[in-house]
């Protein structure tokens, strides 16, 4: 098949790649070249490290694709390659902002369900302005928006609701009412892109509050229950609708 014995990575950017495909990198990324080469001129020096993103693994001569999807490339900062894949199951990644559901209170930590293979832990001190005397008012079943500080395959994931300077910056317990639902991870990434058309078009329809979790969970709250449900249905359908169909659906709704 096309990429059995390795195709240049640049040639496949923007195209579909399948697991097992081998991507060859240009020679100047290879830092451990065979034999010793004295670099006397600055001409062919490597320009920083290449980042191997999700869906790719380093293997011998190049990068091995491990997930199916579209190959993407970002030339900034030494270059990064990754595979844009569609998936519904979330795997915790450090630094991701997610919506978790409190399932248990065990002593000093809360156990949160984040949709991964293990419940995450959240210490009661990890909220803005929380001290041992001033505990946050968190009950089982509450929704929490936080970020991962520890998330790797070997340890239980840990979340916090403050950033590195101690401020909450939008994280914490999500208020009452509203509607929580799950979509695929690809849709979340599309919605989080700057100047997302879907969000702009929806905001012209009704005013609403929206929280997007990288684990595929979205929380929406509008003025009435009916408006909330309409926004939920549109966001869920956005996965399968093209831009045209979406504009038509919104035009019909704003006409009513």
């Amino acid at each position: 098949m096309a990429a059995e014995h390795g195709t240049a990575a640049e040639a496949l950017v923007g195209q579909v790649v399948l697991p097992g495909d081998l991507l060859l990198l240009p020679a100047h990324y290879d830092e451990d070249a065979e034999g010793e080469r004295l670099r006397l001129s600055a001409g062919a020096a490597p320009q920083g490290r290449l980042l191997c993103g999700p869906g790719l693994r380093r293997s011998g001569a190049g990068l091995l694709v491990t997930k199916c999807g579209l190959l993407r490339h970002r030339p900034a900062g030494g270059g990064a390659y990754w595979v844009d894949s569609q998936q519904k199951r979330y795997v915790p990644v450090k630094g991701d902002h997610v919506i978790g559901i409190v399932t248990a209170k065990a002593g000093d930590v809360f156990r949160l369900d984040v949709g991964g293979s293990e419940p995450a832990s959240l210490s009661y001190l990890a909220f803005e302005g929380a001290t041992k005397r001033n505990r946050p008012n968190v009950q089982v079943g509450d929704l929490i928006y936080g970020q991962f500080v520890v998330a790797n395959k070997d340890m239980e994931p840990e979340m916090v609701c403050i950033d590195s300077s101690g401020k909450s910056s939008g994280m914490g317990i999500i208020g009452q009412d509203g509607f929580l639902f799950k979509v695929s991870l690809g849709l979340i990434r599309k919605l989080l892109a700057p100047k997302c058309e879907i969000i702009q078009e929806l905001s012209q329809l009704y005013p609403f509050e929206l929280v997007l979790g990288m684990n595929g969970r979205i929380w929406v709250k509008a003025k009435t229950v009916q408006q909330t449900l309409i926004i939920v249905n549109i966001l869920e359908a956005c996965e399968y609708m093209t831009a045209e169909q979406r504009k038509q659906a919104l035009a019909k709704l704003s006409g009513n």
């Binding site: 097992g20 693994r57 491990t66 997930k67 569609q86």
Partner: protein
């Protein structure tokens, strides 16, 4: 995710769940624990289903990068919707598409091809139930997409070593069509977004 596959009239629906929380008794400290459940169209699963589950499990374990998800469980459930021959290779293809669709990290793709060796020595690919009954031997191979290596081979009946080599060569050629089908399906799926 749920995908179904049907060569001819044989049809299998596959659902893949994972990486999810594993029971303490089943979790492995360094890899994901893969479990395959094969449900026949009628009746309860018997010994034949159990042996096929083990073949599928060993094939999937060889390609899934389980070390990236230790202490998790990956469950693959296959439901036979109709059986008109070549069932095991249909299950293999459905399993691969389910793994692909769910976004699990894979080292390579695989496909299943069944060969029937007829009494006069001719080789038939993807035999129907009738051809399977009349054949002298039925060989099923799981072929990987990287260099067409053999991941799994199972034989029912008797054949000579040369005949097996010929069946393997025919299966490796046929695997190209199946991998091209995988590529086209994935292309169609990503062209919509």
């Amino acid at each position: 995710t749920v995908t179904s596959l049907s060569p001819g009239d044989t049809s299998v629906m596959a659902g893949l769940y994972g990486p999810a929380e594993a029971k303490v008794s089943k979790e492995l400290p360094d890899r994901a624990a893969l479990e395959v459940l094969l449900r026949p169209k009628v009746g309860l699963p018997g010994v034949l289903e159990r042996s096929r589950e083990q073949l599928l499990r060993q094939t999937c374990e060889a390609v899934v990068l389980g070390v990236l998800h230790p202490r998790t469980a990956i469950s693959l459930v296959l439901q036979v919707l109709s059986d008109a021959g070549s069932l095991l290779s249909c299950c293999l293809n459905a399993a691969c598409m389910a793994l692909l669709d769910a976004g699990l990290p894979l080292a390579t793709l695989f496909c299943g091809v069944t060969c029937a060796l007829q009494p006069d020595g001719t080789i038939l690919l993807d035999p129907s139930s009738r051809q399977e009954q009349e054949a002298r031997a039925i060989l099923t191979f799981a072929i990987a997409s990287s260099e067409r290596k053999v991941l799994m081979a199972t034989t029912k009946g008797s054949c000579s070593v040369e005949e097996m080599q010929q069946c393997l060569a025919a299966a490796q050629r046929a695997a190209d069509t199946i991998f091209q089908f995988y590529r086209d399906s994935v292309r169609r799926r990503y062209s919509k977004s």
